[in-house]
């Protein structure tokens, strides 16, 4: 049973560019959340997708956007990249019916903005 998978594992971009990160949730999960983990910090919630809609959003600018597909997989898009966007981006999946179950995390995408 595959867990949460993310691609790519590493990415280097230049300031001002745009990036797309991808996530496939654990089998049986229908909810996908994205987190940003800056170096030396805990993960910060970006947003959550359920039924192909953004259900909840953290304190991130509109440059951060996402999408969820009918198969529950998800993308995170970041436009106009800044140096401060360099971080580990984590995808987490869960089941909406099991609200008190733990989130399952992927290994993340390490984004470096130069």
């Amino acid at each position: 049973d595959a867990g949460v998978t993310q691609s790519p594992t590493h990415l280097i971009k230049t300031r001002g560019q745009q990036v797309t990160l991808r996530c496939s949730p654990k089998s049986g999960h229908d909810t996908v959340s994205w987190y940003q983990q800056a170096l030396g910090q805990g993960p910060q919630f970006i947003f959550q997708y359920y039924e192909e809609e953004e259900r909840q959003r953290g304190n991130f600018p509109d440059r951060f956007s996402g999408h969820q597909f009918p198969n529950y997989s998800s993308e995170l898009n970041v436009n106009a990249l800044l140096l401060g966007d360099s971080a580990l981006y984590l995808c987490a999946s869960s089941s909406d019916r099991a609200w008190n179950s733990p989130l399952h995390f992927g290994n993340g995408t390490r984004l470096t903005v130069t």
Binding site: Q41, G42, P43, Q44, Q48, R57, L90, A92, W99, P102
Partner: protein, 116 residues
């Protein structure tokens, strides 16, 4: 607003000794608390959770956590540390303010170093 605090950036323990990683929380309503572990260049792995019930929660890899409502704490413990326990540990609280599923609010993390 919900929050968690991990007062120690690093905890050093000798192998075989007991370990404690501290966490305090601030929530409105009932707390839903979690511990996760992160190994280098990896995602977060779930260790244990407190939703309701017994104050002593047992989790993966021999870890346990003690929920203390009066002290608003949820410290992670293990009776006998292993070198392989060396990793980054995160305490988190579930925030239901924004929707039914809620999201996790994480502490800054505590680096655990277990020496042979």
């Amino acid at each position: 607003a919900q929050s968690v605090a991990q007062p120690e950036d690093q905890v050093n323990v000798a192998e075989g000794n007991p370990l404690t990683v501290k966490c305090t929380y601030s929530v409105s309503g009932n707390p839903y608390l979690f511990w996760y572990v992160q190994y280098p260049n990896r995602g977060l792995q779930f260790l244990l959770k407190y939703i309701t019930g017994d104050n002593l929660v047992k989790g993966s890899y021999g870890f346990e956590a003690e929920f203390n409502k009066s002290q608003t704490s949820f410290h992670l413990k293990k009776p006998s540390a292993l070198v392989s326990d060396s990793a980054l540990y995160f305490c988190a609280v579930r925030d239901f303010n924004g929707g039914s599923q809620g999201n996790l609010i994480f502490g800054k993390g505590t680096k655990l170093s277990v020496k042979p």
